[in-house]
Symmetry: C2
Subunit: 767 residues, 2 copies
Amino acid sequence: MNQDYIIPNNWSIIEEGFNTDRVKSSESLFSIGNGAMGQRANFEEYYSGPTFQGSYIAGVYYPDKTKVGWWKKGYPEYFAKVLNAPNWIGINVQVNGENLDLFTCKVDNFKRELNMQEGWLSRTFTATLKNNVVVTVKTKRFLSLTLDEVGAINYTITPVNVDATITYSPYLDAGITNEDTNWDDKFWEITSINSKDNKAFIEAHTLKTEFNTCTFMESECFLNDKKTDITPKIEKLENKITYNYTADVDAKSSFTIHKFAGYTVDRNHPKDKLISAATKALEKATSTGFNALLESQKNAWATIWETSDITINGDVKAQQGIRFNIFQLNQTYLGTDAQLNIGPKGFTGEKYGGSTYWDTEAYCLPFYMATKDQNVGRNLLAYRYNHLEKAIENAEKLDFSNGAALYPMVTMNGEECHNEWEITFEEIHRNGAIAFAIYNYYRYTGDYSYIPEKGLEVLIGIARFWHQRATFSTKQNKYVILGVTGPNEYENNINNNWYTNYMAQWCINYTVETIANIKENYASDYDRIMSKVNLNSDEIKKWKDVADNMYFPFSEEHNVFLQQDGFLDKELTPASSLKNSQRPINQKWSWDRILRSPYIKQADTLQGFYLFEDNFTIEEIERHFDFYEPFTVHESSLSPCVHSILAAKLDRMDQAYSFYLRTSRLDLDDYNKEVEEGLHITSMAGTWMSIIEGFGGMRVRNNTLSFSPKIPKEWDGYSFKVNFRNHTIKVSVTQNKNTFELLKGEELTLMINGKSITINQNNLITA
Amino acid sequence: MNQDYIIPNNWSIIEEGFNTDRVKSSESLFSIGNGAMGQRANFEEYYSGPTFQGSYIAGVYYPDKTKVGWWKKGYPEYFAKVLNAPNWIGINVQVNGENLDLFTCKVDNFKRELNMQEGWLSRTFTATLKNNVVVTVKTKRFLSLTLDEVGAINYTITPVNVDATITYSPYLDAGITNEDTNWDDKFWEITSINSKDNKAFIEAHTLKTEFNTCTFMESECFLNDKKTDITPKIEKLENKITYNYTADVDAKSSFTIHKFAGYTVDRNHPKDKLISAATKALEKATSTGFNALLESQKNAWATIWETSDITINGDVKAQQGIRFNIFQLNQTYLGTDAQLNIGPKGFTGEKYGGSTYWDTEAYCLPFYMATKDQNVGRNLLAYRYNHLEKAIENAEKLDFSNGAALYPMVTMNGEECHNEWEITFEEIHRNGAIAFAIYNYYRYTGDYSYIPEKGLEVLIGIARFWHQRATFSTKQNKYVILGVTGPNEYENNINNNWYTNYMAQWCINYTVETIANIKENYASDYDRIMSKVNLNSDEIKKWKDVADNMYFPFSEEHNVFLQQDGFLDKELTPASSLKNSQRPINQKWSWDRILRSPYIKQADTLQGFYLFEDNFTIEEIERHFDFYEPFTVHESSLSPCVHSILAAKLDRMDQAYSFYLRTSRLDLDDYNKEVEEGLHITSMAGTWMSIIEGFGGMRVRNNTLSFSPKIPKEWDGYSFKVNFRNHTIKVSVTQNKNTFELLKGEELTLMINGKSITINQNNLITA
């Protein structure tokens, strides 16, 4: 429904015309965040129509108790719910006593813009109120990257046809709840509501998790851009505080409010100092002022774009799509806080709960490694190292022992915080992604030091898990892995998922190899680690036996590895036979029907071919692509990007391009008809990979960065930059030529289309 | 732990000596019920130790909202929680101002008895209170079968060593909660608390489900058995009302209270008439008086035993076990209310939720058919007929169409009220049990009229479901049934569960055959039904195609049907290799580990061989028994009885006897270490079947009742009665001879050990 209402533009997401049916979708699409907090693009003023209110604070969640019919041993106690936090953006507006409410007004010339280059959200419109007063409104809002506890709003109203008495009522509201709340569920408890001069504070803490927060605000008013001191009328309710600023405004004069507001949280401050920290934040913000704060916002975003921008010429929608992806990733996670991670919906919705999925390692790590300082990637790995003990405890809950580690499927604090057995107990391939990320980090950055320092212990815990998880099948005379859910979550509790078995084998082999290397080259680390984890060569031999004798289901008839033992028992009708009215099947079909169908949610076997492409011939990759893709419905946001990269590798540029469009504009065009619920943040890194690895053909092999650029016929050209081992390389591709430029760093040898070429800062290589 | 503390006795369950560790187990074992309500054997007086309080009203439940991480289409909205109802049994006792509390007193000569012959529960003990007053206490309590809204308590205290001031504080308490409650969950809302003369009332309704109830009480006091008028001091709290009766009691004198109390419910009365209905019930009870009410209780139980008793000579534990089973079944369900059904924990605990499982059809129906009026069996079938529309809706939620019916796995009102996909979506074999019950009812009672009247519509809905649920596998060139959970709930989402596939085939064949018969013999019913369900011969042909080409997984190597496609992929170590410390595995192992193991919770393939024994040779049955039983951990209460019956059939009487002991004393000896949570009511009917069908060899074939009695070597003899088509037959078996007696009805021809023998009321047949 809301497909195609976003106006193509190189740097902005723009909506023109007001349509109440699109409000919830736009609230997702125009979301803003600064890594520490974020919000859906809810209106500041009261809105009586359908809306999905959402303000989120990084790391603040609620443990929703697991309720199942028959409790089974090992079940996680709770599901971490992403919590809607107290609302500070609210500014109600009354004009001659009448509420400004876009749901009941006549709205003209409505325009909403999310400026990605500069990092702000704005609205302009003309409203005719029920009392026939016509006003024009301009708003601008941003969450500061420089003062990351603070957001700022500039709200200007101009009566057009009459003089009017206008009241701004900026407020803080802690009487919020979650969209997905249950009967009467309450998540926040308010400790205090205070006002001091122009500043207001609500202290509230989450129930159970006891996160303490202070939500704060301070406002300034302007008449015709001139600051005016209005003594506010203050209203305190049980869970809300409002300041009412009233002014008589002549027709055509402007009445403006600047509201500075935000959160201080006890993750960063002592819990009894939240108000004083808030006071300081407000003092900094007000003394800087809206305009100067906005300037530093623009500068901060310019710095981000400097290292991460991708340009696409000749295809505005593709350009808009990729920038939207890069912008949202940076809004969600900036890599500056090693305790945080990348939630699949970022700050744009409640769905999925928790913050950390395998998405981080499998999809996001490459993006952050190539567009930010190497330290950001290391932080993402260290996050898992810091959770190793919890991962071992998690495995123990499932009866594993001897230091076997099973990382949670979803987590906030290292504990499992998802609560469905078919996911948490069975979707164990996540362990593989976490091990692979260690390898991938070294492969990309060349920083081996992480492995003896932290990585090897994680690898050992994971290898132990795979060893224990496999069972020997007399029937197959091989080790099998029973009862898993692969990346394709449309199958549960299957046997011998090819991807999982392959990952298990790879993890063991890589760990064994790494142990040998550490033994040889980092003797003291080796001794420290071996004695810490109590590992000996007998145990390693047993691991190897499992890896060397792993079973992989294979179909002679189709000459392909089978996604799982029972795949061929299904009715193998291709996804193309599904009527449009039946899609997405996860919204149209019962779970029962989906499980029995051959339809694949996302790359599963192909995910393995993507990660381990060098272990297979191009013919093998092609054969598996042609076998599995037709059954794939791509209803996971993580699917199209992998298919785009593989299609590009197979020189199927039309297919690669269409998958690229799907991944890059998944939310903008709402392919999966769920954008109202929030954006698909982690898959946005997959979009980035589609260009860099898919079209650009970037790989790292033997410490050498290589490219083999291709270009969709629809584009005139594209360019991207990557940060590689203290070099910044810019790659520009057109239909006629490819150029390579070294923007930073010393001379570097690249492989370009299989040829070794050296670049330095003085020359632009065309190849 | 609490194994073996129950004293063997032919007619009573007796516990001697007070052990606080056993309180919760005894609360389950000594539970009482009258079909309309029931209670755990909680003490009347205050008890500060560990206890599990439970009072339950038939049909009163709470819909606990389903909470899952990722919602999937078709999920049931709620889980029906068995609700703890307001407590009316409470009588606090103070002696010289000191609470009588068995947890803090010294307790001597404690004896608790559940008299199954007469239907009452008693305790006697001597307590030395903290103030050194010694008292003897005698209590007796029952839930009246004749006035089924009323229970009565006789509580007598005698100070032994001193004169004492004693206060009885009978109360009603609606401030109760569930054991399995979640944070702050509230299920009841109190509407009014009233007292009028000696009567007290609390009106309360359940949240969401809006069941309105009135809990009521009235008490009378006696000094040395002489009625005494004491003006009570009345205390009203927010959710509790207490009457305090105080008397000065000489040493060795007795002070007695009779408390009459219970519930009136808006299932039986207009909701604004609950207090007046309660008043009437109390007037009846008090005018009858405790002793006369107890007399009629004894008579009512004598009538039940008259038709349902089983005697066992020479084995008191076996005798006690079988009577305990028959007693508890009758306490749970009496067949008088077609809206009610047989909850798996009856009125003895909260676990499992809901009231109706496939247990009713698969296990309970034969018991009720043979021990009660034929109408009771018909009521049980009609319960499902009345839910047919809901079953069709339930199937529609899972994308089935055209009148396909999927009965819920668990229900209170026809809707699915369990909430785990692997159960509700996949444990579809329940549909088979419901169809089989129709066949079984006719087979046993000879009452075909139920089928044209109601049964055929149910069969057609079920046949349609199976037809749609099967898919054609090109690989097998057969119809397969993917993604199911069989009776063995230790495997989920498996393919081609043999039992399920067999049931599906049988259901279709039986339905097709029944349609033909109705067409020929009940033409007008046929026309009515066919036009109602819009069925034609083309559709029937398609059903038949599925039934005729159903796939059954088979192992050539083992020469057995496989429980499911992947069974042989498991590590096939027998259950005998499990250490005792690892059992029951459902308490010791994670769900993950259980799913991957070969261990079978309960008869699965063997359940099919039990139901359809005539379709297999004895060698086939034996081979499958020997293959599957070694993997079976019997952690479902429904397992040992089926194994006992099959073992008896295979002439393995030692094994049959040990399974019999396990099923009949499952709760008394707490095999599965969970009796604290409540009793396993529905499996108790399986115990009955173990004797009647297993040892007695009772079958009905071609309208003829047959027996082939066997007897465990441990027993001197046993006898049972069955009600068969208006005949009551008594079968007595000893080590030397078997006798058959017709107690009621006209001459009847039986098959005894394969020989046709006619009995009538005048002769006792020895055969």
